[in-house]
């Protein structure tokens, strides 16, 4: 079975991000880039499906600038068979919907029965992509899945989505979109052999025109990024534990009115 895994390159979670000279974006100088962690769960799951079935193909896809090739290279090192790099001026400063349209178009061309996303990219934290792509394709979708099994006949998937207070397990006909939640699996580290092998695997460049798309203009516009308002300075309550606890509870009640 062919499985498509869209991924996004994002700043490392430990990065102190700073607002850029153009306040609509961040200052990218000195940033370490990684594959968004949730996308690794998605890729891992796709690789496991392929291994279990003993056949198939895992294709990593990204929409992003030239540096995003590194993210695809990481996916190939983990075990993806090939990669597609959607890179075009039409997608610079794209909003979710523009990216979703690009991904939907490439998915139509590739026609995989399953698309596995991470639940959200940890840069803009929008989390809209899996559902938007599903809707543009007219496919069913289960978000934040914690488990999945492809049926014997390869025509459907049983997937458990995390909702408040429960896991809802659906039988979903393929093709469909799933998005991975943490807990679905533990992603593997690339082996040295994988890293060496990745250099020989194909990363194909795809332009907007290849997908029959023209620049469509963002629907959601970033006005500006802003720093967080500073939190008022805190207070370490001194003293013996029993005394400190008394004072803490008094402060929570009387000063902070939090209880």
């Amino acid at each position: 079975m062919k499985i498509l895994v869209p991924v996004k390159q994002v700043p490392d979670t430990a990065t102190q991000v700073k607002i850029g000279a153009d306040p609509k974006g961040i200052d990218t100088a000195g940033i370490t880039w990684i594959v968004s962690p949730y996308d690794e769960y998605a890729l891992e799951e796709a690789l496991r499906i392929k291994e279990k079935q003993g056949q198939g193909e895992v294709v990593a896809v990204t929409v992003g600038p030239e540096r995003a090739k590194e993210a695809l290279r990481s996916c190939l090192a983990m075990g993806a068979d090939r990669a597609l790099h959607l890179s075009d001026p039409a997608w610079e400063n794209a909003d979710s919907l523009t990216v979703a349209r690009a991904l939907a178009a490439v998915i139509k061309q590739e026609a995989p029965p399953l698309v596995l996303f991470g639940r959200q990219a940890i840069d803009d934290d929008m989390g809209a992509m899996p559902a938007q792509v599903a809707d543009l394709l007219g496919w069913p979708c289960a978000s934040w899945i914690m488990e999945e099994t492809i049926s014997e006949d390869g025509k459907s998937v049983r997937a458990g989505r995390q909702v408040e207070g429960a896991l809802e397990i659906f039988t979903i006909p393929l093709p469909c979109v799933l998005s991975a939640q943490k807990g679905l699996n533990e992603p593997r580290y690339p082996t040295l052999k994988g890293i060496m092998g990745a250099k020989k695997k194909e990363i194909k460049d795809v332009k907007a025109a290849d997908l029959g798309l023209a620049a469509d203009g963002a629907q959601l516009l970033v006005v500006a990024l802003e720093a967080l308002p500073p939190r008022p300075p805190g207070r370490i309550i001194p003293g013996e534990p029993a005394e400190a606890v008394k004072e803490l509870v008094r402060s929570l009640r009387e000063d902070a009115k939090a209880i």
Binding site: T13, T15, Q16, V17, I26, P37, D95, S96, L97, I122, D123, D124, D125, M126, G127, A128, P130, A131, Q132, D135, L136, C141, S143, M146, R158, G160, R161, V163, E164, G165, A166, L167, E168, I169, F170, Q181, K182, Q219, L220, L221, A224, L225, E226, A227, L228, R231, G234, R235, I236, P241, A244, V245, K246, L248, V249, S251, L252, R253, A258, I259
Partner: protein, 329 residues
């Protein structure tokens, strides 16, 4: 009506809207008033109740659009989206708001794609500038805020729970209920099983006013009983750091942070948590933060409003006692 702000109802699957819907209606009503419009509720359900409808009116819904159909439960995006899109297109609404919940975060994204408009997910503030909506949303794991606006209406947004105020209840308000004729597709995915989580008897993490949270400093799964004791006394939910979750001490759904849940309770109490940047991402919008850690240099003290440097195994039980004493008064 041109300046209608629609609010998608989040319910308990038994005909009662959840409090977060009151928050969404409250914010929608405040914004709509500035444009001479009103907040309206849209309820997709297999079964509404009269009390539920009344509750929506009391929370400020000037009208309730009710789509009641067995195919609407359980929530499936492929079923809800076309129905809602048809209704929205018929009525030319100004905005459609939802809550950041499992179903609505997916629904609003699908709907935005279907109608071809922008979506501001996980919004924490709104303003109107020259008659246009501007939303504020945390990005980069809450390290920065992003102000966004829409190139055209309807303005779609999801709102973070526990951030927005309810309006003063319109006690005794009677709901004006509309039952529009809208095609509800049957859908292709079917629910095979619903596995309820073992009830902790404590509130849901995202909705709780108070969250007690434990990290690697808890030293083992059995010690979370200490935090549950405390949580029971103050009616809190119990969360955990990733270190505690990855050690297998707590299930994934209780993880707070960048790769877990984002919470904004009135009060967050962290025990044996160092305050890694990825953890702060999930709780730094809490109104009051309390940290208990034996290391005075722990970064969590940088965001804490109150801190106690000490052994949590000593402090937590004392705190439970002290809260008990206070609340028994």
């Amino acid at each position: 009506m041109a300046s209608a702000f629609w609010c998608i109802v989040e319910d308990d699957r038994a005909g009662r809207p959840k409090k977060v819907t009151g928050e969404v209606l409250g914010e929608a009503a405040r914004l709509a008033r500035q444009l001479g419009g009103q907040a309206e509720a849209v309820w997709l359900t297999d079964k509404a109740t009269d009390e539920g409808l009344k509750q929506l009116a009391e929370w400020g819904a000037a009208r309730v659009w009710l789509l009641e159909n067995p195919a609407l439960a359980p929530y499936r995006g492929e079923v809800w989206t076309p129905a809602l899109a048809e209704l929205a297109t018929q009525h030319g609404v100004q905005a459609i708001f939802g809550a950041v919940t499992a179903r609505q975060r997916e629904l609003l994204a699908r709907l935005a794609a279907r109608i071809g408009v922008g979506l501001s997910a996980d919004s924490v503030a709104f303003s109107l500038q020259d008659g246009k909506l501007v939303a504020t949303r945390p990005v980069y794991a809450g390290k920065l805020l992003s102000k966004v606006t829409w190139s055209k209406p309807p303005w779609l947004a999801t709102l973070r729970p526990n951030v927005f105020r309810l309006e003063d209840p319109k006690t005794g308000a009677t709901p004006q209920v509309e039952r529009p004729a809208v095609a509800i597709p049957q859908g292709t995915m079917t629910l095979a099983e619903r596995k309820e989580e073992a009830s902790t008897g404590l509130p849901e993490l995202a909705e709780a006013d108070i969250v007690v949270s434990g990290g690697r400093g808890m030293k083992g799964p059995e010690n979370f009983a200490i935090l549950e004791e405390l949580a029971k006394v103050v009616g809190a939910a119990v969360g955990a750091s990733r270190a505690a979750v990855d050690a297998g001490w707590r299930p994934h759904r209780f993880q707070i942070g960048q790769t877990g849940r984002t919470i904004s309770p009135k009060l967050y109490l962290g025990f044996g948590i160092s305050g890694a940047i990825q953890h702060l991402a999930g709780m730094r919008t809490s109104k009051i933060i309390v940290a208990v850690n034996k290391d005075p240099e722990a970064p969590i003290f940088k965001v804490a409003d109150f801190g106690i440097v000490g052994d949590l195994f000593e402090v937590a039980p004392l705190l439970t006692q002290e809260f008990k004493r206070l609340l028994e008064k």
